[in-house]
């Protein structure tokens, strides 16, 4: 459900941005309600970074309107930037600067900065406060950038691929931190191409593809809309032949999978019952069984695959 515009912290309407002949963002509209995490999903080149840069007033769009807490970003970019905290992809700091110095530097530009010592503690960087930036691990650097995004104690956070290039443990740590941002009442726009991250953290997800916003809903709504049928994957002690698998109730397609089979079915219960009957009749035994429901990845591939196919057809035409 879309929040009423009057309550939205961030509103983007009909945004368009071209780089010469290339349309990076085409007629994109979305809104962020107070306290929600909105995920902007898309592959590289989908237009996520351009959308973010327009939001931060770093790029001037060719068309559209952007407001943050009622401030028109296009006419008052500096004022809007004061109210937003941001972490940009591929930003860095000088090798010799320390986290403490970086926080103090960035905080000094704001009238009411956050407490730098508290930020260091919050992001578990107190022990590294005086270490050179170059000596920090990837996770520590990302935590520092998130801390820098909070130096002005913003209510709105824009995070561009915050976990890119991190190992799983560091990624899990950052997920916890981002979830805490929401708990603290901040509104977050999270750009990512990590589907698990989006489905774990986001209240709503917008899917950008070739500059267009092709979906905007909660993860549950998106999955419910998926046309992909559920799958059942299983393994037995003795192999089953393809004809037996094809004859199972509800099965629409089947394929070998990890020494067993994976089938697409219209009725999971009937397919599993049929499979059990065959196994009992032949004295075979089930070793492993998984029910695979449609995921965000299925939705993403489904949606972007269609869009890509349409564009290709247009191009060919």
């Amino acid at each position: 459900m879309q929040p009423p515009p009057s309550l939205a912290h961030v509103s983007v309407a009909n945004l368009a941005k071209n780089y010469g002949p290339i349309a990076a963002v085409r007629n994109v509209s979305f809104e962020l309600a107070p306290g929600e995490i909105f995920g902007l999903l898309g592959q590289n080149g989908a237009g996520k970074t351009t959308t973010i840069e327009c939001l931060l007033g770093l790029q001037h769009p060719d068309a559209g309107q952007i407001t943050i807490n009622g401030i028109n970003v296009l006419t008052e970019p500096m004022r809007a930037r004061q109210r937003v905290g941001a972490q940009l992809q591929s930003a860095a700091l000088q090798d010799k600067i320390t986290p403490l110095e970086a926080l103090q530097l960035f905080a000094s530009f704001y009238a009411k900065p956050a407490d730098t010592a508290q930020l260091l503690g919050q992001f578990e960087l107190t022990g590294k406060a005086r270490a050179p930036f170059a000596s920090l691990s990837g996770g520590q650097k990302q935590r520092l950038f998130l801390a820098l995004a909070l130096v002005n104690d913003p209510k709105i956070l824009i995070l561009d691929e915050p976990t890119a290039g991190l190992d799983p443990q560091a990624r899990r740590e950052l997920h916890g931190i981002i979830a805490n941002f929401k708990t603290a009442g901040r509104t977050i726009l999270l750009c990512t191409h990590n589907l698990d991250e989006a489905s774990t953290l986001c209240d709503r997800i917008g899917i950008l593809h070739q500059g267009r916003l092709i979906a905007n809903a909660t993860p549950t709504e998106l999955i419910a809309r998926a046309r992909t049928s559920p799958r059942v994957a299983f393994c037995t002690t003795r192999p089953l032949d393809a004809a037996s698998i094809a004859s199972l109730p509800g099965v629409t397609s089947h394929a070998p999978h990890s020494g067993g089979w994976q089938v697409n079915t219209t009725d999971v219960n009937r397919t599993i019952s049929g499979l059990t009957r065959i196994l009992e009749a032949t004295g075979n035994e089930m070793l492993d069984l998984h029910i695979l429901r449609p995921t965000l990845e299925d939705v993403f591939i489904e949606l972007t695959g269609q869009a890509w196919a349409e564009d290709s057809a247009e191009n060919k035409a």
Partner: protein, 444 residues
Amino acid sequence: MSAGSTLSGLVHHFLLSLKLNFRSLQALVYGYLVPVFFLLAFGSVFRSDIPPLLFQMGQLLTISILGGACFGLPTALVAERERGVWRRYRLLPVPTGSLVASTLLVRFIIIGSAAVLQIALARLAYHTPLPAHLGQIFVAFLFVGFAFLGLGLLIAALANGVPAVQALGQCLFLPMIMIGGVGVPLAVLPEWAQRVAGFMPGRYAVDLLQRCFTNPNGLQGASFSMIALVVIGTAAGCAGLKLFRWESGRRVSRTTWVWLGIALLAWFAVGLTATATGRLDPVLPDAIAYETITDQQIDQITYDGLPGDNELVTRMSPPFKPNAMPVRAREFANQLKAWSLSYASDPGQAVRNLISVAAVADIGADLREAEIGRVVFDELQARYERRQLCHILTWIILRPNDGQAIIRVPELRLRRNLSEQMVRERGVLYAKKYLGRLLRKLPD
């Protein structure tokens, strides 16, 4: 955002950038070790001059400022841009210009401290005199730094990477070193190169800085050099700011050529103005200048219309009788013998300085003016061989605007500040009186 927090942020940025510079070994090597290396290189060549290195300090400082501004500044800026540091700065709620200004100020301090180091080390290692005008050298440094930092900013905006900074920097550095009067002195360059140098900021930078060391009048009369540097620095700085790039990966656009054209136009405007106003006349090495005077030129000097020795202008006492020199004249003669500027390493300039003393006393209506005119003549004859003196005096008569003219000599109690042009004109009259006497074409 309040102006207070903007200022606080910029002060923080300035101090931290300065601190980070001193943490970087590379920055220290390029910022301080290279200037010291240049000092040693110059010192090894000019250490036997009297005084050592004094007449090369303008060039030496210009090379350091040029290196710091055209290599140090853009290398640091582009390296930070490549890393993504400026991409993060870009999120700050401050205008582009303020952060760039803070960065320029940091570089100004770095190259300024390197210049101070050079001056101090030159003093310690070679006994090079300190600048004659310590206050004015700061003013000269402001103008030179402004021009070169503007160029450095433009290089940073144009370069797509650190290697490109080196290439673009060399495009400025090498021509100025070789034919711009910065590395090779103007007087040694062929005439065409001297004219080309008039289109480059290096020539004006050396002029301003060198004046603070050796020109008794300091920066007085150097307004054209100041204006030239301001014009070149403003055009380059505006272009650099307009083309400033926050992040890497963005190619140079068509407007780049327009702004680059504007920056180069400033060089042409300065060069053409200098040509049109006669500022690019060939500069001859002083030592050679008077030696090129021929006997024929000496013979062609006329003495018509010279004021008499007792008239209001160019008064001159008759020769002092042996052992009967007035006390006041004797005191002055002793002071003149101890006056350091009369011992300039170049005889042409030394004679010009002595004649300036007579001219200053005359224009300033000093009570001793007639005696000073005579004491100077006696001193010249005592110090120089007749033929050499005739050549130098003829050179002063034919080239009144060459070399330096002294407009006040407080150490000889000639304290009035006079017009340089008047001193030069009056100096020509004294030179004619002295030459006429040496050649016995005038009675003494």
